[in-house]
């Protein structure tokens, strides 16, 4: 192998390993009879194996790569964004595969987990992408398995609807992205991200900005920014809970990593930074405001979580805009993403614990008086919800604190105003999270229990783990 190729492999070693495991899954799975009793028994085995492997990989990666190696090849680069993106993706992967142990669709057990692994690999490739082509391919490597997961995880009409909507709109978003990308190539004559950044350092034409606007619009779909978010509520409703949790986290991580990669290259032209920053800021404000206001009007848990995830994308976009002005310092965005991943997965896992199968869609009223039936789960769920609000004693506090601090440190009027609007939005957001908490602790008037009383299960444990991480994070912010 040429040294170039070896280096390419080394920079994205975890992704290569994961991809290899996924291939093994597909090979082994082919010879497994899903309808036989042994096959049915082994359904949860796939999830357990994935969780174990990903945990090992995550610990290994965190342990061995505390510093980015600085390797740069034509396709991939290893810098701090790549490193943190890898850790973040692996963390999400561990939690999601633990979540799916009990929710793997019986007929497509190995395909399900193989898809999950492939899209995790895609997100890691994306974190390390150094070229427009690898970037785009990685995005599709996340998006196509997602479509597959949507279609195999749920086999009813709402599942088909979700699959179709996601596929069609995702293709549309990719088209917009590719159009922007082709302009970028045309302007700079190269597909290398650093080459494009160098070209843009001296180029301040309207065409460059239009190209950037198109690329950002395409990526806005991935991070569910308004008005590219319409698919989110329908997809969240029309999928099994682990897949909904996955869509709430991994594509978002991938989308933000892509935005960071495209914008965070090198010294961009000031005028160019101004336009990109403005786009991000406007997107952020529209996203968080409509996300929060829409969430207020919801009566079902899944739709509420969908809009809540839209709102959080808005906060993250403020962070990205601030990072852009501050020369690509994206630590706070990434740490917000990991906090968001942990707490969102905690809430989804709690919902999965409470509902008998992963397809049901509990309304807010169904969880009334939950505390009476499941105090432990309730407390863990409350921690996650409080973290989503961003109150102290939880990770969400530091996450929001970091974004605020970043925005204010730019010392730019529009970002400070943006931070103020974000604070107002956080208060509006607190309204619906708190009303959820209120419902959980209120004693119901009727004695009917539409939601089952939970027994111990992996998703129960996952909620507790997420809540524990959330609190520990607050106490030891420097470790995260």
């Amino acid at each position: 192998m040429s040294p170039e190729l070896t280096n390419s492999f080394l920079t994205v070693l975890p992704a290569v390993v994961i991809f290899g495991i996924a291939c093994i899954y597909l090979l082994v799975g082919m010879f497994q009879d899903n309808s036989s009793p042994a096959g049915i028994r082994s359904v949860s085995g796939w999830g357990i194996v994935s969780t174990f492997l990903l945990t090992t990989l995550w610990i290994g990666t965190v342990w061995f790569s505390l510093q980015p190696s600085g390797l740069v090849t034509k396709l991939f680069q290893s810098d701090s964004v790549a490193l943190h993106g890898t850790h973040l993706t692996l963390l999400a992967g561990v939690l999601i595969s633990a979540f799916s142990i009990t929710h793997t669709p019986r007929r497509f057990a190995y395909e399900f987990h193989a898809c999950l692994l492939i899209l995790l690999a895609g997100s890691i490739f994306l974190a390390a992408a150094a070229d427009l082509t690898t970037l785009y391919l990685s995005i599709e490597m996340v998006s196509l398995p997602t479509t597959l997961l949507l279609s195999i995880s749920r086999r009813d009409n709402s599942g088909r609807e979700a699959t179709l909507k996601y596929f069609a709109l995702s293709a549309f978003a990719s088209a917009v992205f590719l159009m922007g990308a082709s302009y970028l190539y045309g302007l700079s004559g190269t597909t290398s991200l650093s080459g494009i950044a160098t070209a843009l350092a001296t180029n301040d034409t309207t065409l460059a900005k239009v190209a950037m606007a198109l690329v950002l619009a395409g990526l806005a779909f991935r991070v569910t920014a308004v008005p590219f978010h319409f698919y989110a509520p329908d997809v969240f409703t029309g999928s099994s809970l682990p897949v909904a949790a996955m869509i709430a986290t991994v594509p978002k991580i991938a989308g933000f990593l892509a935005i960071i990669r495209i914008l965070g290259g090198a010294q961009l032209h000031t005028g160019f930074v101004e336009s990109a920053g403005l786009i991000l800021l406007v997107l952020a404000l529209v996203t968080m405001t409509s996300g929060n206001f829409m969430a207020l009007a919801q009566t079902k848990w899944r739709r509420l979580l969908a809009y809540s995830s839209v709102a959080h994308s808005g906060y993250l976009l403020i962070g990205v805009a601030a990072a852009l002005y501050r020369g690509g310092e994206t630590t706070y965005v990434l740490s917000y993403l990991s906090a968001y991943t942990v707490m969102t997965l905690g809430v989804f896992a709690a919902l999965a614990t409470l509902t008998a199968n992963g397809d049901s869609d509990p309304s807010l009223a169904d969880l009334e008086g939950l505390y009476q039936r499941a105090p432990m789960l309730c407390i863990a769920l409350s921690v996650c919800l409080l973290s989503l609000i961003g109150v102290p004693l939880t990770a969400g506090f530091w996450a929001k604190f970091g974004i605020f601090q970043d925005a204010i440190r730019t010392a730019r009027t529009e970002l400070v105003v943006g931070a103020v609007i974000m604070a107002i939005n956080a208060a509006v957001g607190a309204m619906y999270y708190l009303s959820l908490l209120l419902r959980i602790y209120r004693v119901p008037h009727t004695n009917s229990a539409p939601v089952s009383t939970p027994k111990f299960s992996p998703s129960f444990a996952l909620t507790v783990v997420c809540a524990a991480i959330t609190v520990l994070w607050f106490l030891l912010p420097n470790w995260m």
Binding site: F221, V282, M431
Partner: protein
């Protein structure tokens, strides 16, 4: 073991968390005393081993337990600081807590809140040991509030009882009032230290003890008035926590909590946090004479006032509560004696000495009172029982030991420490400036000693001697307490008997505490005056005899006699509670009702309108979510067009 000191707060914290987990799991709650006792035992062993390893002398060990936050200029490390003073107090806290926890495992048996009780007690010990160990005034303040919270939760432990809920609220509010002043002191000090030290790199480190004490001489030279204010503010915080006049009103009501709580928190440890604070801040107070003068006067007044009120109480626990107030007054009085030339170090030693001995014998007295209460079916009114000597023989002996120690008869503990305070005052009486004041305080101190002897022996004789009778609640045959409730008392009794003479004879305390950094140490040692010893022994004996007479009087004779005005006055605690109610609480309530009306009619209607706004908007824009893919794609196209327009308009 110096490096293992972080185990002292950590072990009770783990104990508390385990108890909370038991509560949440709803299982095995009856085992909640185990994690608590084990946690406290670890803490106590580490503390005592550290004590013997350190061998006194000048040592300060700082360990950074963990850094909570390191963002830019805000760096909040939680560092533990160990020196003679903190180690001494730490030993008192951990040892008494361990004994009380063992006692509680018997006392609280069968209570529905068993696990909650132990979770709270453990949390208290965590907060208290952190309060003692931290090396930063701001952190001390945080844990100061932490112990206040635990105290609130434990006073209101039986929250179904309205009186307990009310007492908890009262304790909490009175303490908050004093803590306001304390916080003002902390902030003023923070500002002051910032004025003289130009270390602006770390805002929190300005309140590290070392930084404060480095800044004190500079402050004294440049801004003496500021330092005076800081001293007074800190003093107010201390008198709030230590229940000194006029903030003493919360402590007697705090007796609504379970008796072990009264023994641990409201006699032996938490209420002495005020003393610890003053001792800790003594280098600062030495430059703030006003605060010391105030401490002395308030201490003297409280000592006498507490003694008088205790004399007229018929509730055994309340007698002990007022006695605690009075004894804490002694410790403040000791600080007053620090006004003389460079005698503050001796004052600190004397106050800490009394703190230690008092912790032993008062915890013992409270716990034996708990035994009495247990046997009497939760009746604690001394008029309803008597002559319990033969029914509770062991409790009787234990109470007697505690009482002798409290009265101050040699060779038990209380005598030595009280003597060292009075002796210190007497030796300073020829001070050119404060001489007359010291004489005055000395007289008040002797008066308080007499009162102490009277009420103590009155309570003792009333409870254990005379005609044998008990209330109906106690049943046919009241019985002695269980081993779990007696064994820790025997251990405490060792301290009650020997702690005074051991510390006095070997003079260990001064050697251990005194090489305190930043505090000028007085080398001349005051000598015991035999005259003073004789005087106080005779006062104690006289007090005991008067108390015996009072205690053995027939109940009928007592009630037949019309009580004089003073007795009514004292029985009603000098109407101080009523005074505070009318002066502070009633106007506040009135103001609150006015504000509430304004809030309801003006603010709330506005807030309701604003609160309804988001939902209205949300309901409007949710109509955009039609569910059709073509609409969604159209929405995205509109978004793209909007972004392109934006870019185009900008360039």
């Amino acid at each position: 073991m110096l490096n293992a000191i972080w185990l002292v707060p950590l072990a009770p914290l783990c104990g508390s968390l385990i108890c909370m987990a038991l509560i949440m799991a709803g299982r095995r709650k009856e085992l909640a005393h185990l994690p608590t006792i084990i946690g406290m035992a670890i803490a106590a062993v580490v503390a005592i081993v550290t004590y013997f390893e350190s061998k006194g002398g000048e040592f300060v060990v700082s360990t950074q337990a963990y850094t909570w936050l390191n963002v830019g200029t805000i760096n909040i490390p939680v560092s533990l600081r160990l020196d003679g003073l903190s180690l001494t107090h730490l030993n008192v806290v951990t040892f008494i807590s361990l004994m009380v926890a063992i006692y509680s495992s018997g006392y609280m048996k069968g209570d529905p809140g068993y696990a909650r009780f132990f979770a709270l007690i453990s949390a208290f010990v965590f907060c208290m040991s952190m309060l003692v160990l931290v090396g930063n005034l701001l952190l001390l303040y945080a844990f100061w509030e932490g112990v206040g919270l635990c105290s609130y939760l434990l006073i209101g432990f039986w929250y179904q009882k309205p009186s307990a809920a009310k007492a908890a609220m009262k304790a909490f509010l009175v303490n908050r009032l004093a803590d306001c002043a304390f916080l003002a002191g902390v902030i003023t000090l923070w500002y002051g230290v910032g004025l003289v030290l130009d270390d602006t790199t770390n805002v929190i480190a300005r309140l590290d003890y070392d930084a404060i004490f480095t800044a004190v001489p500079l402050l004294a030279a440049q801004h003496p008035d500021l330092l005076g204010w800081v001293g007074c503010f800190i003093l107010v915080g201390a008198i709030g926590k230590s229940a000194q006049f006029p903030f003493h009103v919360w402590l007697p009501d705090a007796m609504e909590g379970p008796t072990p709580v009264s023994a641990l928190i409201h006699a032996a440890t938490m209420v002495t946090a005020g003393i610890y604070l003053l001792a800790r801040m003594s280098p600062l107070l030495s430059e703030a004479p006003t605060a010391l003068l105030l401490a002395g006067w308030l201490g003297a007044i409280t000592a006498v006032l507490g003694g008088v009120i205790a004399l007229f109480q018929s509730d055994l626990k309340r007698v002990l509560a007022y006695s605690t107030i009075s004894q804490l007054g002694y410790m403040f009085l000791a600080f007053g004696a620090g006004l003389g030339d460079a005698t503050l170090s001796l004052a600190v030693v004397a106050a800490m000495f009394h703190l230690i001995t008092h912790a032993f014998f008062k915890a013992q007295l409270f716990l034996t009172a708990g035994n009495v209460m247990h046997a009497m079916g939760d009746v604690i009114d001394m008029r309803q029982f008597g002559g319990l000597k033969s029914i509770l023989p062991k409790t009787h002996i234990l109470f007697l030991l505690g009482a002798i120690a409290l009265v101050g008869l040699p060779p038990l503990a209380g005598f030595w420490s009280k003597e060292s305070i009075l002796g210190l005052l007497l030796s300073q009486s020829n001070d050119p400036v404060y001489g007359p004041v010291f004489v005055c305080w000395f007289a008040l101190g002797l008066a308080a000693a007499l009162l102490t002897a009277i009420y103590t022996s009155k309570a003792y004789f009333k409870t254990f001697h005379g005609e044998e009778h008990w209330p109906a609640e106690a049943g046919e045959h009241p019985h002695e307490a269980s081993t779990a409730m007696l064994a820790p008392l025997w251990v405490l009794a060792i301290g009650t008997v020997f702690s005074g003479i051991v510390i006095f004879y070997f003079d260990t305390l001064a050697g251990f505490i005194l090489p305190m950094p930043f505090l000028e140490v007085a080398h001349e040692h005051h000598h015991e005056s035999w005259l003073l010893v004789l005087l106080s022994i005779s006062i104690a004996v006289a007090g005991v005899l008067i108390g015996r007479w009072l205690g053995l009087r027939k109940n009928q004779a007592e009630s037949a006699k019309t009580p004089n005005a003073f007795a009514i006055f004292a029985e009603n605690r000098f109407y101080l509670d009523e005074l505070f109610y009318n002066l502070l609480v009633a106007p506040t309530l009135y103001l609150a009702s006015v504000i509430a009306a304004f809030d309801m009619h003006v603010i709330d209607s506005m807030a309701r309108y604003i609160a309804s706004l988001p939902e209205t908007i949300g309901n409007q824009i949710r109509l955009w979510q039609s569910g059709r893919v073509s609409h969604y794609a159209a929405g995205m196209v509109i978004g793209i067009i909007a972004l392109l327009t934006l870019v185009y308009l900008r360039s």
